[in-house]
């Protein structure tokens, strides 16, 4: 249980730092990740041991993702009116992200394992984990790159979208969820309930689309 304690305290520290610094890099998930990783390396505890210890905490992730249905339901009228923007925008965004990941990985000659793992990075990590069986990627690497891609997105996408002039909460949320799934959605919720709900829709569509792309590739 010691590592659950460490994880909770590191996250609380991250929230405090975020409220003081107001910088996009001061993200509680990033800060907690770095603090926990540094401590694990310092006391030489392997990741597998850590993961076993924090099992109960991770057990709350599935019901938390289910809970995303609540903001979706609260905003159902607004979301139903914007279904075209959500579906067309979300699917095109995820598809563009996958295309760039795949082609750039090929051009830059990264290892086969990494190429196959990057293909599923725009989908949430449980999807990446399950699809690894079809893409031939090492499952742990696929899931790790997916969740890190989400974290990276949570850090860089909000300022990037502002620079592009994307101001509507719906479009911002959708764009974040379409490529940065769960961690991105946690970040999008900080901007407001509509941004968070649009991000959950982007995340759900991305899970479907990446699954279909992989199914198509492994059949063809």
């Amino acid at each position: 249980m010691i590592w659950i304690t460490v994880t909770l305290l590191a996250f609380a520290l991250g929230v405090v730092v975020q409220s003081r610094l107001r910088s996009p890099l001061a993200n509680p998930t990033l800060i907690a990740t770095l603090v926990v990783a540094a401590l694990l390396l310092l006391v030489r505890v392997p990741y597998a041991t850590y993961l076993r210890d924090v099992g109960p905490l991770q057990g709350l992730l599935a019901p938390a993702v289910v809970a995303l249905a609540v903001p979706l339901y609260r905003l159902r009228a607004l979301l139903a009116r914007q279904w075209r923007a959500l579906i067309v925008g979300g699917l095109s965004g995820t598809l563009s992200g996958v295309a760039v990941d795949v082609s750039l990985a090929r051009v830059l000659h990264v290892s086969d394992d990494a190429q196959r793992s990057l293909l599923t990075a725009p989908a949430t990590s449980p999807v990446a984990l399950q699809l690894a069986h079809f893409t031939g990627a090492p499952p742990v690497l696929a899931a790790t790159l997916a969740v890190l891609s989400g974290l990276l997105g949570a850090l860089i996408l909000p300022p990037f979208l502002s620079a592009l002039g994307v101001r509507s909460p719906l479009a911002r949320g959708l764009a974040i969820g379409a490529v940065a799934h769960g961690v991105g959605t946690a970040r999008a919720r900080e901007e407001g309930e509509l941004t968070g709900a649009a991000s959950s829709i982007g995340m759900g569509l991305a899970a479907l689309l990446v699954t279909l792309v992989v199914a198509g590739l492994s059949r063809g």
């Binding site: 994880t7 993702v65 289910v66 990264v110 690497l141």
Partner: protein, 132 residues
């Protein structure tokens, strides 16, 4: 049938806050289990939790489940969503030996994220209907 649902709703509306929270957490866990069971039996390559989210959304829409049964638990869990990903993000420790390859991986992911989110954001704001 609707009378019974209404009677249940009035009972649950008077529950004290801790009971509300426990009821909500139980329902959310139930949908997570249901979603997982569905993808396992039907061999769907989807995460059980995202399937459970869609099922709960449908159940709320069909008025089979009431929002106030789960609202407290849902808002509580979503408030710490970023915390629940930490066990997974720490997983990069298992690939520290990849060394310099991380530079390329992060570069590729950054390019994919910026391009994908740019396309989604610009398209969605163009397609968004103004009549709100």
């Amino acid at each position: 049938m609707t009378d019974r649902v209404r009677a249940t709703a009035s009972v649950t509306a008077r529950l004290p806050a801790p009971a509300h929270f426990v009821l909500g957490l139980g329902i959310l866990l139930g949908f997570a289990v249901l979603g997982q069971a569905l993808v396992t039996t039907l061999h769907l390559p989807l995460p059980g939790s995202v399937t459970g989210m869609a099922l709960l959304w449908a159940a709320l829409g069909a008025r089979v489940f009431r929002l106030h049964w789960i609202a407290d638990a849902a808002d509580g869990l979503l408030g710490i969503l970023g915390l629940l990903f930490v066990p997974a993000t720490v997983g990069f420790l298992g690939y520290l030996s990849a060394g310099a390859a991380w530079g390329w991986w992060l570069l590729i992911m950054t390019a994919g994220l910026l391009f994908g989110a740019g396309v989604a954001g610009l398209l969605a704001s163009r397609l968004e209907r103004e009549d709100t």
